[in-house]
């Protein structure tokens, strides 16, 4: 294996030199650095979800409350900056998800004939294979969330849902419909099915992702980690039930 090991030698420290940006590049191209970015972006996206859910639950209060909220939000000067930031967070999270997942598939280039978990867990649909755990499905759950997000952008940003009338005719001409009437139409359209599936899958993503992010960031402590893991389940359930309730309300109750 002499030849193999020779290929895998790092450049000697003297050859690498130290420039102002080099350490950042090595950090961001390392496995640990990328997991770190994954964790930070994941947690910041969780923060966005809380704010987004709180705002959207105002549809239950009524049309006026919701329209005022939407109007105030959109008159904020810094909203475009926040939206760009949010987009960058998502972009980094998704790009790294594809990169890391493809690395991981390469690292296990030949799969096992048989694979069983040694983790003690109540019997699941998947028997003793690791597939009964949400951590095995992060890329798949993420991809479903991505599909949901694309549908969501078509509905709410691009205004291209064919089942929704985004404008109203008034004596003064054609103007944009108020946010409440748009959201009610969207939540009553076919998209609602995607929303229900997408947000429930988001819950599964977070039930592992939330605590996993702390672990990736090195935030592990015998006193707090058990609580973080319990909180992750609670948080995931609140987010999933909170968001999924909206399309269910739109389809069946409203």
């Amino acid at each position: 294996m002499v030849t193999k090991s020779a290929e895998k030698q790092q450049p000697s420290p003297s050859a690498s030199g130290k420039s102002a940006t080099k350490w950042i590049m090595t950090l961001l191209s390392s496995s640990l650095g990328q997991k770190f970015v994954m964790g930070i972006t994941g947690l910041l996206l969780c923060g966005f979800l809380v704010v987004h859910l709180a705002g959207n639950l105002l549809v239950y209060v009524g049309a006026d409350a919701y329209n005022t909220y939407a109007h105030d939000l959109h008159s904020m000067l810094l909203l475009p900056v926040a939206e760009v930031g949010l987009f960058l967070l998502l972009f980094a999270h998704i790009a790294l998800a594809f990169k890391l997942t493809s690395d991981n598939r390469k690292a296990r280039h030949i799969s096992y004939h048989e694979k069983q978990s040694k983790i003690e867990e109540p019997p699941s649909f998947f028997g003793k294979t690791p597939m009964g755990r949400t951590s095995s499905w992060m890329f798949l759950s993420g991809s479903i969330i991505l599909i949901f997000l694309i549908v969501h952008m078509i509905d709410m940003k691009l205004h291209l849902n064919p089942a929704v009338t985004y404008t109203v005719e008034t004596p003064e001409g054609v103007i944009e419909a108020d946010p409440y009437s748009i959201i009610v139409q969207v939540l009553g359209s076919w998209s609602a099915a995607v929303y229900i599936i997408g947000t429930i899958i988001l819950g599964f993503h977070l039930s592992h992702g939330f605590w996993s992010a702390f672990q990736s960031l090195g935030l592990n402590h015998p006193k707090y980690t058990p609580w973080i893991r319990k909180f992750a389940i609670l948080f995931a359930a609140v987010i999933a039930i909170g968001f999924a309730s909206l399309p269910i309300w739109g389809l069946f109750i409203h």
Binding site: K8, D103, S136
Partner: protein, 253 residues
């Protein structure tokens, strides 16, 4: 429970590193339940030898669970069904008469198969060469109490030092990640005062070599720790992540 077992073994056979392999089935009769798994393979090899067939190559050394040489994916589990156990310490009483047992080598890009069930784990050695040591000038042994090490710190370091470097963590991880192994070595040395001087360079160099070898990335599924014969905790991985970020962001190295 019967004292002897009749078994079907489905074993990965691969004559060499760059040759295609396949599963071959073997029937075994009269295997004593008191045998270890490796002794059972010895019996099979004797039979193969008597028939003039190639024997099955597998790694082993101490056969007492301390050297980390034995391996094997047994029915989809690294080191077989028991927790905290190496293959050499696994006994045939864990199996039932008539069982079919699938035996595979560790599967990882970074652990290429050399022959049959033997894989090349020298990637681990190259990682150790990058920092799995402390540099001390030799001389008289220092006074034992000169450097106080609190008991909880000793325990953390000793728990991490229990790693025998067998590679079960890589084998069990769906991403073939070596982070449990590397984190055990980093934790063992960086928690002790003797390891502190090289703390920053150690973690950076070891992680860089780990990446270079083509191991996967941890997704915190905890399969590594569950499969580990030394029961190394994933809290070591968090410590390595911390050490790494501290070194990258706060040290001059």
């Amino acid at each position: 429970m019967s004292e002897t077992l009749d078994l079907t073994l489905r074993v990965w056979r691969q004559p060499g590193a760059d040759v295609a392999g396949k599963y071959v089935e073997y029937k075994l009769t009269g295997i004593s339940t008191h045998m270890s798994f490796l002794e059972m393979l010895d019996v099979l090899n004797e039979q193969l030898h008597a028939q003039g067939d190639e024997m099955i190559a597998f790694d082993h050394d101490c056969r007492e669970g301390i050297c980390g040489m034995c391996s094997l994916m047994i029915n989809g589990q690294a080191h077989g069904p028991d927790t905290g156990t190496t293959t050499c310490q696994l006994h045939m009483r864990r199996f039932k008469n008539g069982d079919t047992i699938v035996v595979e080598p560790w599967r990882a890009q970074a652990f290429p198969v050399i022959r049959d069930l033997v894989v090349d784990r020298s990637a681990f050695d190259r990682i150790i060469e990058k920092g799995g040591f402390i540099s001390v000038s030799t001389g008289n042994a220092p006074e034992a109490n000169a450097i106080p090490v609190p008991a909880p710190v000793q325990e953390t370091a000793m728990d991490a030092a229990a790693c025998i470097g067998c590679g079960a963590c890589v084998a069990a991880c769906k991403n073939a990640s070596a982070m449990l192994f590397v984190s055990a070595k980093v934790s063992h040395l960086s928690t002790l005062p003797q390891g502190k001087p090289e703390r920053s360079s150690r973690v950076q160099n070891m992680v860089a070599q780990m990446d270079l070898e083509g191991f996967g990335n941890c997704t915190n599924t905890e399969e590594c720790s569950a499969a580990c014969p030394a029961e190394i905790s994933i809290s070591n991985i968090a410590r390595m992540n911390r050490e790494y970020m501290r070194a990258k962001l706060c040290s001059k190295e």
